[in-house]
Amino acid sequence: MTVYFEDVEVGSDLPELIKEPISATQLIRYSGASGDFNPIHSVPETAQAVGLDGIIAHGMLIMAFAGQLFTNWAGNGSVRQFKVRFSGMTKPGESVICRGKISEKVEENGECIVRGKLTVKGAADDSLKIKGDFAVALPTRR
């Protein structure tokens, strides 16, 4: 279903996205898919040797979850800007919830741009994983 610029209201929430718990296998799969083989995401001994208490998820995997919040809504071709700050680590077994809110509507360079703010938090303890901003270009009914 197409989302049109005219139908979006500043202050409205995006449909919440609840992700399945992250597994160690998913981290290995993401290492292969992305090519980021930093062993702190896959080898418990290395993670412990650098002072972590076990392997942690790639920040970029959690950012990819955050991206799904607005691509599920506006499509993958719509994105113009995407920026996040990583606030907390995510471990295997954790499930996260992505939430977003529309903050601005503006016409720029001949495009209808909608900006929003998003968060990714741990489902169990509400701990902040990611805080971010996005901008998508939407079609207009005009």
Binding site: K19, E20, Q26, R29, Y30, G32, A33, S34, G35, D36, F37, N38, P39, I40, T46, A49, V50, G51, L52, D53, H58, G59, M60, L61, M63, A64, F65, G67, Q68, T71, N72, G75, N76, G77, V79, R80, Q81, F82, K83, V84, R85, F86, M89
Partner: protein, 145 residues
């Protein structure tokens, strides 16, 4: 402390040709079951550019070593993408890595060192398509989290 003289350091360009199978693999890895139709229409998801660098021969681990940083001591602090022109399956993108700012900040757990990595991508028509900035935290050897 990271040697601040590395600010502005440039690394050799690398290229990556986007294959549909790799994008499908990426969707499975991120648990995205709603973007299949976009990928069949050759559109890539917003964080897929991470693949350009890691599979396109950036050799991040080696680049960081040249600056005296071990990959395993690095944590990701911030990531920013600016999408200038749509990137599609079949495109060949060329990336150029440059070191941005290098700085330290005092935090609850003591001083932390930060380094910005700037990646500028062009497509096969030499059009700028994507600007990327990664801010990394560099932890000391054996320092606790």
């Amino acid at each position: 402390m990271i040697d601040a003289s590395h600010k502005g350091k440039k690394f050799p360009a690398f290229s990556y040709t986007i294959e549909r199978g790799k994008v499908r693999e990426f969707l499975i890895a991120i648990g995205d079951d709603q973007s299949k139709a976009d990928v069949e229409r050759a559109i890539v998801p917003p964080t897929f550019p991470t693949v350009f660098a890691f599979w396109g021969g950036l050799r991040l681990e080696g680049a960081l070593k040249e600056i005296g940083i071990e990959l395993k001591n690095v944590l990701h602090a911030e990531q920013e993408y600016e999408y200038l022109v749509p990137i599609h399956v079949g495109d060949t993108v060329t990336g150029r890595l440059e070191v941005g700012d290098i700085y330290s900040k005092g935090g609850r757990t003591g001083q932390m060192d930060f380094i910005e990595l700037i990646l500028n991508y062009t497509n096969q028509q030499d059009q700028p398509v994507l600007r990327e900035k990664s801010t990394l935290i560099v932890r000391g050897e054996g320092e606790s989290a």
